[in-house]
Each structure stands twice: as C-alpha cells, then as structure tokens.
C-alpha cells in the first residue's frame, strides 16, 4: 500500500535526523532512545497492522486501529498539558527577569 511506503520514508527520514542530532549531542541518549523506539514502533505497526490487535485485545478495544487512535489521543492530551506547563514555567522565568530589571531601576 502507498501509505506504508510514505510512512516508511517519513520514519526513516526522522530516524536519520534524530541520529544526526544525537551525534551532534543536541539531544541526550535517553531522548534518542525514546525517539528510536517510537519510530521503530511506527514501522512495525505500519508493516504489520495485525500486531495492534494484540494491544487492542489487551485494552478491551475491538480493533487494533481504534486502539492506536485512543492511545494517541491520550498521549497527545498529556503532551499538550506538559508542554503548557513548561510554557508557563518559561513565562515565569520571563517575569522573573522583568521583575529583576524593575527592581534594579529603583537603585
């Protein structure tokens, strides 16, 4: 199927890019392995869609493809919250900076 080829090309490109970033040490070892496992997982799923049925059955969801969607949505939601939390921390650091400058002006 065409989609399998597209996703494979995408996955390989991302993996190469990740490996380069790992070599340049812009990402750490653990981060590299997370991405590696994630995209290898994608490759397994796309070439062997039946494997998702095992997970689906275990989760009590009818079809493998459905299970992938449900899990993805949960993970995405979590990721958004985490990202927002980090953004808020970043905003706080910006405020700290503005505060320090304001307090310095007084002296």
């Amino acid at each position: 199927m065409l989609i399998q080829i597209f996703v494979t090309i995408l996955a390989v490109m991302v993996l190469i890019h990740t490996f380069i970033r790992f070599r340049k040490a812009t990402i750490g070892r653990s981060e590299f392995f997370v991405w590696l496992i994630l995209w290898l997982g994608v490759l397994v799923l796309i070439w062997n869609p039946r494997s998702t049925n095992v997970v689906a059955h275990w989760l009590g969801v009818g079809r493998g493809a459905d299970a992938v969607f449900y899990v993805s949505i949960v993970v995405l939601f979590y990721a958004i919250f985490r990202l927002y939390g980090k953004l808020e921390n970043l905003e706080h650091q910006l405020s700290e900076l503005v505060k320090k400058i304001a307090l310095n002006q007084k002296k």
Partner: protein
C-alpha cells in the same frame, strides 16, 4: 515600627491611578493613630514610634502615562519593561515592598474599586499579630452602605450578579484544586505581614494569581482572615472586568499549575 507599603499593580490605568495614590497618601498618619494603638491593646505596637506609609505602584508595561501619573501623585514606581500580567506585577510589588523594609504590605486595585479608608480594617489583624494574611471580601459585607468616595458609583457595595456568579465559580474551583474555601477568591484587596510576603512564592503571571495566593496561604500554613469590604463599582471599573473566556483561561492555568508544573 509599623511600616506599611501599599502596592498598586497598574496596567494602563492613568485615568484612575493618580487619584487612588492621592487618597492613600491622604491617610498618611493612619497606621499610628492613637485609636489604632488603643484598639491594638497589645505590645506589638511600640507606642510613640511613627510608622511610615508608602505607596508603591507597579507599572506593568503600560502604554499610557500610568507611571508618570503615579509618580506625580507621590508614589514610588517600579516599571516592567513589558506587560507581564497581574501575577508578575504583584510579585514585583511584594519584592519591592520588602526591600522598602515593610512590616505590613497591602495590595489594592488601581481602578479605584477599593476604598483606601478600608486599609485600616485590613492591616489591623496583622498589626495585632492575630493573622498573617487578610483578604478583603466583597461577599462578607451585610450592609449596603454607600462609600463617601463612591461619587459617580452606581450602587456602593452592591456586587453585580455577573460578578457574583464569576466569583462563585472562582471560589469553587479554588476549593476543588487547592482545598481551601474563601468567600472572595478573586479579591485584589489584601494585606500581608512581611513574614508572609517572604514565604509566598508567586509563579503565575496573570489573573490566576488571586487563587495562587490562596493556595500559597494554605501551602505555607499561613493564618488567613477575611474581612468585609465594600467595593466601589463605577462604569470604569466594571469595564475593566474579565470576560467568560478569560475565566476559562484562568481555570485552565490553575489546572496546569496544580498538575503540570
């Protein structure tokens, strides 16, 4: 000594901030008047020693003449280079007040909805050493007394229904998230002891700071008292209110604060 520093966070409030500062400065002798000393009835106030009352305006990156108006009226001004929101302005204000050797710190809004004459009510429990933090609540007051400062005010002391509802939601979610119930979680009229101000760590940037302060009070085991205040609602201060969407955003930020930071 009881140095009182009043913090006014202000963003584009040049129409009202000067007047608010002047009204507070008119109270100059207030923190050490004999009436308070006798009311205090404790050794917390060394009699005869004069405390200072200072006004500190935090200009939160205003694009209008807020800083100039405040300075003209006699306030000290700390200016944010860029607009960071109410939470950030309060954090700067608290740090600034502590550096001014404040013993008691008051916060109130720049739009004129808080009556400076009520500052005394807020700082008294702290000067007496009864509590660490006092919050002025719009929902404890029973009388519909009309403030002498009201002037053009609509109805002194009567909180509009939309504000009541918004505040009810604010109180509910503050309780659900942080486990502490107050009658006016969104009030901007507060007083802190210096000790409390040092302990409270503000990490939020905007409107959600009101609930965050209440969370900090619980987290740091500070003693809180609510006292009734009478807000002065004018067309101007009502137009400065927060809409429904802003409320949702505030709630979302509080959830993130609780679980994801």
């Amino acid at each position: 000594m009881n140095n009182v520093v009043v913090i006014i966070p202000a963003y584009d409030e040049d129409k009202t901030v000067g007047e608010v500062v002047r009204r507070i400065r008119a109270l100059q002798v207030m923190p050490v008047t004999p009436s308070i000393l006798s009311k205090a009835g404790t050794s917390y106030l060394p009699t005869g020693q004069a405390g200072k009352l200072q006004v500190l305006v935090v200009d939160d990156g205003s694009s209008d003449q807020t800083a100039e108006a405040a300075r003209e009226a006699g306030a000290l001004v700390l200016s944010h280079l860029i607009n960071r929101g109410l939470g950030a302005a309060l954090a700067t204000g608290l740090a600034g007040a502590l550096s001014l050797a404040a013993d008691v710190i008051v916060t109130l809004d720049a739009d004129g909805q808080h009556d400076p004459a009520e500052i005394q009510k807020l700082i008294e429990p702290i000067i007496k050493g009864e509590v660490d933090v006092v919050i002025g609540s719009r929902f404890l007051s029973s009388s519909h007394y009309s403030s002498p400062l009201a002037g053009e005010a609509r109805r002194g002391g009567v909180v509009p229904r939309s504000r009541r509802l918004a505040n009810y939601c604010g109180n509910l979610f503050t309780y659900l998230l942080f486990g502490i119930h107050v009658t006016d979680s969104q009030s901007g009229f507060r007083a802190f002891s210096a000790e409390a101000a040092r302990k409270i760590k503000i990490r939020t940037n905007t409107m959600e700071v009101s609930s965050e302060i209440i969370r900090e009070i619980k987290l740091r085991n500070l003693k809180l008292k609510e006292v009734p205040i009478t807000p002065i609602y004018t067309e101007y201060s009502l137009s400065k209110g927060q809409g429904f969407l802003k409320g949702l955003e505030t709630l979302w930020k509080l959830i993130v604060l609780k679980f994801f930071r």
